[in-house]
């Protein structure tokens, strides 16, 4: 049900959840199945409001504009699922090497997470060679508002307070016993279990703020550190024999319709663990898309190739004129940024209307991240030569980092990372903040590494794991 902040009674909930995005809602719905009541505190309204959204603006240090902080997320019921792209895939087993849990620990929640996101549990893989594989993504059309708002309104176990923000927490020994919230007024509510599920930037922002207000708590935790994005960019192009592409990359996987508005046939490729290990690179997803024929892009690519490879260009030109087979390609990639301590979130001096300091983000892409896509596009280029499919080219920034203009992508990872050691992580394997008995963090901010897969499916799996853990504490 929907409640006003002033009417919250201490007996109406066992768990307080801050945030109603996929992480928070997944926890609340799963607790409801176990007949455990929760209180969701949502800073935004049921739909978009300028007032709530304005709290997301901040300052970027690096190549990315300040707008990134407010444009890549939404403060409203359902959070950023209000405008997300919906692409889903599980992380690879080797993405968990630096995690305190393994892929199998999340696999038990995969079916349930797929149901939550309305997608098929199908994430196929097909070996292309020993270094590369074709992979399958699913696409979710979920808008949490559309699917769950009315449901939550009628729920007996889920209480939702809109336009209400968490402002502070009060401690007794190592437990959070009170939560200070702000709506029209400031209220104090009692706490048994508190879950921060406010998103990949706000979780760090709130913990940094709580540490500022409670200096003895959270002392040495690396809050805000190891922040990661998934760089997302058009990284290369190429020319190819249309039929050879379809023959060599044949699969029965779910395919993207008109990927990034450039083509109707897209193949998704990622590196094998052997390749990642041998080349000392990170993980990446490549989206190889056949462009519409006869577009300017194809002619430009061919002209460019003519300068470096005249023999090949003649061959392609003949094919184009006689057999109508050639096509242009666009290669997009969303890939892994390795965790770097200094890529971090920090509090600014200026504050929002609630009095909470705005957020700053210092972020620069690492050399390893650039090397990752260069190695993979070159390997894919060799496959194109060997199998006589065509030729690929990478853009300048793959070979000269100074030409890289920022495109972090919409995924916010890290900042409150998971680990066994409180010196280099913020939460433990059960998502509990180190040294505090009843404070938990849900969402992609806990990812110690990001892999390349879009994070929402993993966020939901982790939330279901958390809900299971919380239910045993009650």
């Amino acid at each position: 049900m929907i409640i006003d902040a002033e009417n919250i009674s201490d007996t109406s909930y066992k768990v307080i959840i801050c945030g109603s995005g996929p992480a928070g809602i997944a926890v609340a719905l799963d607790l409801e199945k176990k007949k455990i009541s929760s209180l969701i505190i949502e800073a935004g309204n049921e739909t978009y409001s300028e007032k709530a959204q304005s709290r997301y603006s901040g300052k970027m240090i690096g190549r990315t504009s300040n707008d990134y902080l407010s444009e890549s997320r939404l403060s409203q019921f359902g959070g950023t699922t209000g405008h997300w792209g919906g692409t889903c895939r599980t992380l690879d087993e080797y993405d968990f090497l630096q995690w305190p849990i393994k892929k199998k620990d999340l696999n038990i929640y995969l079916d349930e997470a797929c149901k939550f996101l309305d997608i098929k549990n199908a994430f196929g893989e097909k070996k292309l060679n020993k270094n590369l594989k074709i992979i399958e993504f699913q696409e979710s059309n979920l808008r949490i508002y559309d699917k769950y708002f009315n449901y939550v309104k009628k729920s007996k176990y889920i209480n939702l307070a809109l336009n209400t923000s968490i402002y502070n927490v009060k401690f007794e020994n190592d437990s959070v016993v009170e939560v200070i919230i702000k709506s029209k007024k400031t209220y104090s509510i009692k706490n048994k279990l508190l879950v921060l599920a406010c998103g990949g930037i706000e979780n760090s922002r709130l913990l940094l703020w709580f540490r500022h207000l409670n200096p003895k708590k959270f002392k040495n935790l690396p809050i805000g550190k190891y922040w990661m994005g998934h760089p997302f960019k058009l990284i290369g192009t190429g020319v190819a024999d249309n039929t050879e592409i379809k023959k060599n990359f044949k699969n029965d996987f779910h395919y993207f319709e008109n990927y990034m508005n450039v083509g109707k046939f897209t193949v998704n490729i990622s590196p094998s663990y052997e390749f990642i290990k041998n080349k000392k690179i990170s993980n990446a997803g490549f989206f190889l898309t056949i462009n519409e024929r006869n577009n300017d892009n194809f002619k430009d690519i061919l002209k460019n190739l003519l300068c470096v490879a005249p023999k090949l260009s003649n061959l392609i030109l003949n094919k184009t004129l006689n057999k109508n087979l050639s096509c242009g390609l666009s290669i997009f990639s969303s890939w892994e940024q390795d965790p770097v301590y200094n890529n971090s979130l920090f509090l600014l001096d200026n504050r929002d209307d609630l009095g909470i300091p705005r957020i700053g983000l210092k972020y620069n892409i690492s050399d390893k991240a650039i090397l990752t896509i260069r190695e993979i596009i070159e390997e894919l280029g060799h496959v194109f030569i060997k199998k006589e499919i065509g030729r690929l080219a990478g853009f300048d920034f793959l070979y000269d980092k100074s030409k890289f203009t920022s495109d972090i992508g919409g995924h916010h990872l890290g900042g409150t990372i998971m680990g066994n050691d409180s010196n280099n992580s913020v939460v433990d394997k059960n998502l509990k903040v180190h040294n505090i008995k009843n404070l938990f963090v849900a969402g992609s901010s806990v990812f110690p590494t990001g892999g390349h897969a879009n994070p929402t499916l993993t966020i939901v799996q982790l939330s279901l794991k958390l809900s299971n853990f919380l239910s045993k504490m009650i």
Partner: protein, 50 residues
């Protein structure tokens, strides 16, 4: 090397290369893959393309 052995060796190599037995044919091709830059593109091409 006797003439007979030389013929046997030639036939073996011919069979391996022609029928792709045991080895990848590309081992016998001397053409290398290269990265060639033109404007803002770095092409991954083969020597035979030039």
């Amino acid at each position: 090397m006797t003439r007979r052995f030389a013929i046997k060796l030639f036939v073996s190599i011919y069979a391996i290369t022609q029928f792709n037995l045991f080895f990848d044919k590309s081992i016998f091709l001397l053409k290398k893959n290269l990265i060639k830059k033109e404007k803002n593109l770095h092409w991954i091409i083969n020597e035979s393309d030039l």
